[in-house]
Symmetry: C2
Subunit: 466 residues, 2 copies
């Protein structure tokens, strides 16, 4: 074992973080984050690649996700399927996910199996051995996945159409899973192009959390990952950025399978950026204030309790993105209320909010909720590991991630209103109407047997859970 | 001079074409089209490259057009600006244009100056010598062009936003001139990337029209262009194609500079495809029937003469595209009629047309107009040269181009209705509203001093005239 580069090894502990977080960087550029939590003899092992669907070349949408699937095929040391079988045989569980900005692989195992996980994960970082049959069979799998997750779900289809209209230029407008016609044409060259370019230690973040010792983890990482050469041709992540958005857009999706009409308005919004997370923090408050689960949210109060407009409403914001994020508001009208009427009521409620400002008591309640949530988050070592992985993969530093709870606590009413005025500009939004076609709606005028379900509060959540 | 490859030299004359058209292909792959017209001692010399803004890599929108500008800079034989100066000194005129699918350079000169044109055009196909100063100064020129042609024109801004919403995946959604923030970053590498990849004889079409002899033109082409080596790495033109469009979109653009509100609905439509031009021909009829300049068009009749809804209306279709084309309808409401009301009236008129079908007398009038237009077109040798250049650059064959007048004459009422039912599907459309903001509109309630102008009949015309 080589000596660790001592200067690169640092123990960082922000005031609100109970767990000790240790970071290092291997000589080949791989970042290492170790989060100690000795309450249970378990370890979470994750490798995050700084590449996702928004890094794909044109015309091959879905290739990042396709490759994620193929990473469970054979390597020079493992048979196809052996990876997951070994994890299971060792009492662990494993999974992987792809998003716009990253692709991640993770296992949860007994802490003494960490070395085995690293050995296998390092193997498939560099030594994947795909066959033409792998491509053919797994392509069918991802097409099935698209059929079941998107094409069978009117809300997913509508969401896909909405994002394509929201982003004028950025590849965030293309679905992570891919457009079917492009997925059907994905071939070995497309897959290896992504693998050879982006799957390298200098583009990867190792996150290990649980009952582990940082020095030992870093030594183990040196042994397994440190021997993989850096990719000298690793490209910069330069994506097409949005031009000024100057025209409000609307998308109308009709599908006979829609039992309950609803509308979503999605705005382009700033993401958490390195050293600049204040507006993102304020937008999280704004989402809670407008459409949080509390009965005191602006939309619930105005559209459900003070007027019989909506069955449900919500607002959502996720600031974890390398480029732009989105802020969404959704309303599910009561039977007999049209989407147009619901939209007008939603706009009136937002306009009133912009004029009247934040209710100080509501703001403090939310601040307290966030403080509690951040405290509880420290107990969830896997969630914490996800935070570091997703944060680092979207351009934040460890310091940014650790500063977040404090930044969240420091948000003022003025910050919220400034963020609201900045983001709630219809010109940089899409309004989506989802309903059954008129004929189908007439058929469905009888009370629905199943209860109406309001759309998720975060209408723009990414494919993968975080 | 080498012997011409006799098998590749063919004289093609379709029945309706009075001019003799001769085609050949040089050994290096360059296509040659010669159109004889001996009525005046003039020649038009054009080189068309099969590359346009839709072939650009992501993030460098505008580079195809930028390169077009830079082709007037120095080569190893010519000083910067010398090209156009020499053309002018020889009594000619020259120009160039960039579109989604092609970039073209043309000169009109006395026929005995053709050799000089070829010498200079061949020189800049291969021997451009750009300096960093060229990049800096010409970038300012294209930014100024964007400022004057797009940013100073509310209708152009709106059109740009509309196209970005119309195309979900295809690069046709990006403006030919480029997004400003990407234009500002265009550099020498971006420009040379396009030049080295696409500006090659095997990606070029030479069109010479006028008082010339085909054998002599082809010999001259061999001498000047035939010596340039083919680009072995010329890529296929594979672009991102559209997924199924399943949700109607709307774009609302408000700008205080808009004196007269109007609306445009733009649909994705089939283009003229090799061997399959019938639907495109039918769509040209449909555009005339719905919104042609005649007072008998459906929209003029229903919205202007039978009801006081519109000041003007129009419909447009241009089928010359490598991938999808667009079909557009526009309505300019009378003062006092809202855009919503005008849209409802437009939809009612189109619905009525779809139910009632084509008026046979109107169809025959349009057929006669097209026959006349096609006959007159033969007199315009420059227009004819454009047809061949644009047609070949968008994937048509010479035979397709020559078959077009007959295909156009053979369109039936059933063809028109089938095309209408195929294309006029709101789910694959964007509806654009352009108006001044409400406050500005109130200010403008006084009768406008200048006469209201209806938007162009072809709302989706490309940047360059053809």
């Amino acid at each position: 074992m080589r000596r660790l580069p001592a200067l690169l090894l640092a123990v960082l502990a922000a005031p609100a973080v109970a767990q000790e977080v240790t970071t290092a960087r291997l000589d080949n550029g791989m970042e290492v984050v170790v989060i100690e939590d000795h309450r249970a003899p378990v370890a979470v092992h994750m490798v995050w690649y700084r590449t996702g669907s928004a890094d794909e070349p044109p015309g091959v949408s879905g290739v990042a996700h396709f490759l994620e699937h193929l990473l469970f095929k054979a390597t020079d040391d493992l048979e196809s399927g052996e990876f997951s079988r070994v994890v299971a045989e060792n009492g662990g569980s494993d999974n992987a996910f792809t998003s716009y900005d990253y692709t991640a692989y993770h296992q949860r195992v007994a802490a003494d199996r960490l070395d085995l996980m690293m050995e296998m994960e390092a193997d498939r970082m560099n030594d994947l051995r795909l066959t033409p049959e792998d491509i053919e069979t797994e392509r069918q799998v991802i097409l099935e996945e698209r059929a079941s997750r998107v094409e069978s779900e009117p809300g997913s289809i509508a969401q896909e159409q909405m994002r394509a209209a929201l982003f004028l230029n950025h590849r965030y407008g293309q679905p992570v899973i891919g457009w079917r016609h492009e997925m059907e044409a994905l071939d070995m060259d497309d897959v290896l192009g992504t693998y050879d370019l982006w799957y390298s230690p200098n583009n990867a973040i190792l996150v290990v959390a649980g009952d582990v010792e940082p020095e030992a983890v870093i030594a183990m990482a040196e042994e397994h990952y440190g021997v993989i050469p850096a990719e000298p041709g690793l490209p910069e992540r330069v994506r097409q950025q949005e031009p000024p958005q100057v025209a409000a857009r609307r998308v109308v999706y009709e599908d006979p399978r829609v039992a309950q009409p609803y509308l979503v308005r999605s705005y382009i919004a700033p993401a958490r950026d390195p050293g600049e997370q204040q507006e993102a923090a304020a937008l999280l408050y704004l989402a809670e204030i407008l459409g949080g689960s509390s009965f005191t949210s602006v939309l619930a109060r105005e559209l459900t309790f003070e007027a019989p407009v909506a069955l449900g409403s919500g607002a959502g914001y996720s600031g974890t993105a390398l480029d732009d994020a989105t802020f969404g508001i959704s309303v599910t009208p009561r039977p007999g209320v049209s989407l147009e009427e619901a939209e007008a009521a939603m706009e009136a409620a937002v306009t009133e909010f912009l004029a009247e400002g934040v209710d100080p008591a509501q703001l403090e309640r939310i601040r307290t909720q966030f403080r509690a949530a951040e405290t509880y988050a420290l107990d969830n070592v896997e969630g914490l590991a996800n935070r570091y992985g997703a944060g680092l993969a979207t351009g934040l530093s460890v310091e940014d991630i650790q500063a977040w709870p404090e930044i969240l606590q420091a948000v003022t009413a003025e910050d919220v209103m400034a963020a609201a005025r900045d983001v709630l500009d219809e010109r940089s939004s899409v309004t989506l109407f989802v309903s059954a076609p008129a004929e189908a709606a007439a058929d469905a005028a009888e009370p629905a047997a199943e209860p109406a379900v309001a759309p998720a509060a975060a209408p723009d959540a990414e494919e993968a859970s975080q």
